[in-house]
């Protein structure tokens, strides 16, 4: 009887969960305007220890990938440092 078939890992429960997670990535970014700016700062300051980057031209965005959200960063590199510089 198809109606009572046990869905197991293929059940719609998991589809619902995956769809929700993806939706909320997008929704939550829209809800908090300061969030991207904060994330950008955090990424640039940590990358900056290894690379001399052009902070002005750096671009950062959170996008929706096929199954997960993805952080896309385009950061122009002026110089690769010989070793990590810590503050």
């Amino acid at each position: 009887m198809r109606l009572f078939k046990i869905g197991g890992s293929e059940g719609s429960r998991n589809i619902a969960k995956e769809r929700l997670k993806l939706m909320l990535i997008q929704d939550r970014i829209e809800v908090s305007p300061g969030f991207m700016e904060e994330l950008r700062e955090a990424v640039l300051s940590s990358v900056g220890k290894y690379l001399d980057v052009d902070r002005e031209k750096a671009q950062l965005s959170l996008e929706l990938g096929e199954k997960l959200g993805q952080l896309v960063a385009t950061i122009p590199v002026k110089r690769v440092k010989r070793k990590a510089e810590h503050d």
Binding site: G11, S12, R13, A16, K17, L20, L24, D27
Partner: protein, 265 residues
């Protein structure tokens, strides 16, 4: 115990806010507390219907806010419990008829006489929601294990937190254990993982709620109802008791038994 204003909200409509408000208010009153249930859904009032008090309304929330009557005159005493009162919404006005500051003032006044003030918020995230949220000491966000309801709940939780409310708890309504078991419904754990706020109640789907609503008698007054029991547990948690969440799999509902029977084939 200090008086508390608890706002019940959800974002999405139809998830059971009003039913939960009516039943929580009744359960808290059954436990001996002075309880006021405030219907903040101006223009679409329903809390009176859930409590079976629709024929007793003389004045409403907007009359109080606009000074046409005193607060006490608008409060309706419950038929069954002498320590439960309803402050009904206006039916012929719209949500802009009352401001957040009015709601704060009215709830402050209610605190003098009541230990629990439950505010039933309208659906949505606009003016009516903000008005219902304004006086809240605690917020209960109601959702069901469905994608749209959980998504809206997440949005509402963000707005509630942005408004500076620190106590925000989740009630998951209409859980169908046999569907969760079959892998066709989000489980309580799934919803908690996604929304990441503390749980205050889990209420199983129960046809008795429809019967109770038809009669205007809250389901918590039906001693054999398992959804009523779940809301009583929720009320005890609001009163500060530690009440464990029973495993839903153990609830022997008719549907559950039916589901098992079919699955054996």
């Amino acid at each position: 115990m200090e008086s508390k204003v608890i706002t019940i909200t959800s974002g999405k409509g139809g998830v059971g806010k009003t039913t939960i408000t009516a039943n929580l208010a009744t359960a808290l009153a059954m436990a001996g507390h002075q309880v006021a249930a405030v219907d903040a859904d101006i223009g679409l009032r329903n809390l009176d219907v859930m409590l079976g008090l629709e024929n007793r309304i003389v004045y409403d929330l907007v009359d109080v806010a606009e000074g046409r009557c005193r607060l006490r005159q608008a409060l309706i005493r419950d038929k069954r419990l002498s320590n439960l009162f309803l402050l009904p919404a206006a039916q012929t006005r719209d949500k802009t008829a009352i401001q957040p500051a009015d709601m704060v003032k009215i709830c402050e006044e209610l605190k003098a006489d009541f230990s629990f003030i439950l505010v039933d918020s309208p659906a949505g995230i606009e003016h009516g929601f903000r008005t219902a949220l304004a006086p809240a000491d605690e917020v209960i966000v109601v959702t069901t294990p469905e994608v749209a309801a959980v998504r809206d709940a997440d949005r509402v939780i963000g707005l509630v937190e942005a408004a500076g409310k620190e106590s925000v708890k989740l009630a998951i309504n209409r859980v169908k254990p046999e569907m969760v078991e079959r892998g066709d419904m989000l489980s309580v754990e799934d919803v908690l993982e996604i929304l990441a706020i503390p749980l205050i109640g889990v209420i199983p789907e129960d046809p008795e709620v429809i019967v109770a609503t038809n009669k205007g008698v809250p389901v918590v007054l039906n001693t054999s109802s398992f959804s009523g029991q779940a809301i009583k547990d929720m009320a005890r948690r609001l009163m500060g008791e530690e009440v464990p969440f029973p495993s839903l799999k153990e609830s022997k509902s008719f549907l559950n038994t039916l589901g098992r029977w079919f699955r054996r084939k």
